[in-house]
Amino acid sequence: MRKTFHPLLGLWRTVPALRSPAVRRVLLKQIYFTSNQAAYLVALIGFALGAIVVLQLHDVYGQSWESSLRVLGRLGMNELAPLLGSLIMVARSASAVASELANMRANGEFRCLSRHGIDVVEYLLLPRVLGMTVSAVVLSGCMALFALVGGIIFSAGWDAGYQIAQVERMVQPGWILVCLGKSAVFGFSAGVFACGVGLITKPLPTELPKAASRAVFIGILMLFIIDFVWSLIL
């Protein structure tokens, strides 16, 4: 295990490499492909999620609209948005990262970079892990925001303006921090494991497709394990 993830263990030491525009370019591309292209999907799912939660709480469990929105705020920020936002990111991007790295390694591109004095950890792994961390935060934030919007619109209808003005009743600053912090941990974990799977995959054509499914499976599993541990501790 240590040998497998060895390059990733020293990841923190490579952070100064972000001063290089070449490394920053890879990071920005990673953020673009991972979060920007998924933002519409996440916004749509978040909107539907907010509406579903509020309607269920009101219609099925007899909660008032105000109470339903407060539950949505807490549940959405603390649990649903970080988990679902990160889940969508893992499903879309973990497989791409793992298979891309496995392919590059099989084609001798790691070797080519190293021979030209370019550190693979700095140039390939750091931007991918950071990119997935930032993307998880962005996507979770986007999902939380649109879930609130969906909930407000479906509960208040034309009076949505009033609910928006009273938003502090639904969301507390601490919950926002929990949402962003949790999604950052989820994103970092997903990035590390996706890169790890890309690194451990044998450089054989038959192994490359397996890397994609393995990365998604491990990524999702780790999300739930971390969420479970988080719930136990905090």
């Binding site: 590059m104 591109e109 080519c112 190293s114 370019i118």
Partner: protein, 165 residues
Amino acid sequence: MTVPHGEAVADWVDMLADEAQKQWFGRVAVLDAAATLISNLRVWENLILPVWRRDNVPLAALEESVNSVFDLAQVAQVQREKLVMQLPAVLDKAERRLVILLRSVLIGPACVIFEEDQWHDLAARTRDSPHARLFARLQQSDCLIVVGPSPAPDGFGRVAIVERG
């Protein structure tokens, strides 16, 4: 340098490149037999990557350098514009070799390491081709190493490091 067949050649090239990088960081060009390029970068990004990572210079300055290397190779404007925007996957073998030659000259290498197959292919090209012009420029480097399984030809020892000047 004479080494056994197969993977050993690549391992020796790795080792030599590693040592050379310690002495001339960022000024080492490696021309492998497979003409490896980074598959998710366009040709122009492949060309500038080693220099960009080493010097952190603005892209405008790098563009001038790239143009001067194309001028040295005497590649037609239309052909170079088409080439730089392509992904490595669509390049044929000759184009890949041209790109790694361009990349190597752009580095301004103090040390050039060839895998033997690449060396033979380039040495066999006619003098008025872009490949030959760039190959000639690389041969002017301070340190030139050819790694392969064949016995060293006349004039070379088992380990041959060609030094100029």
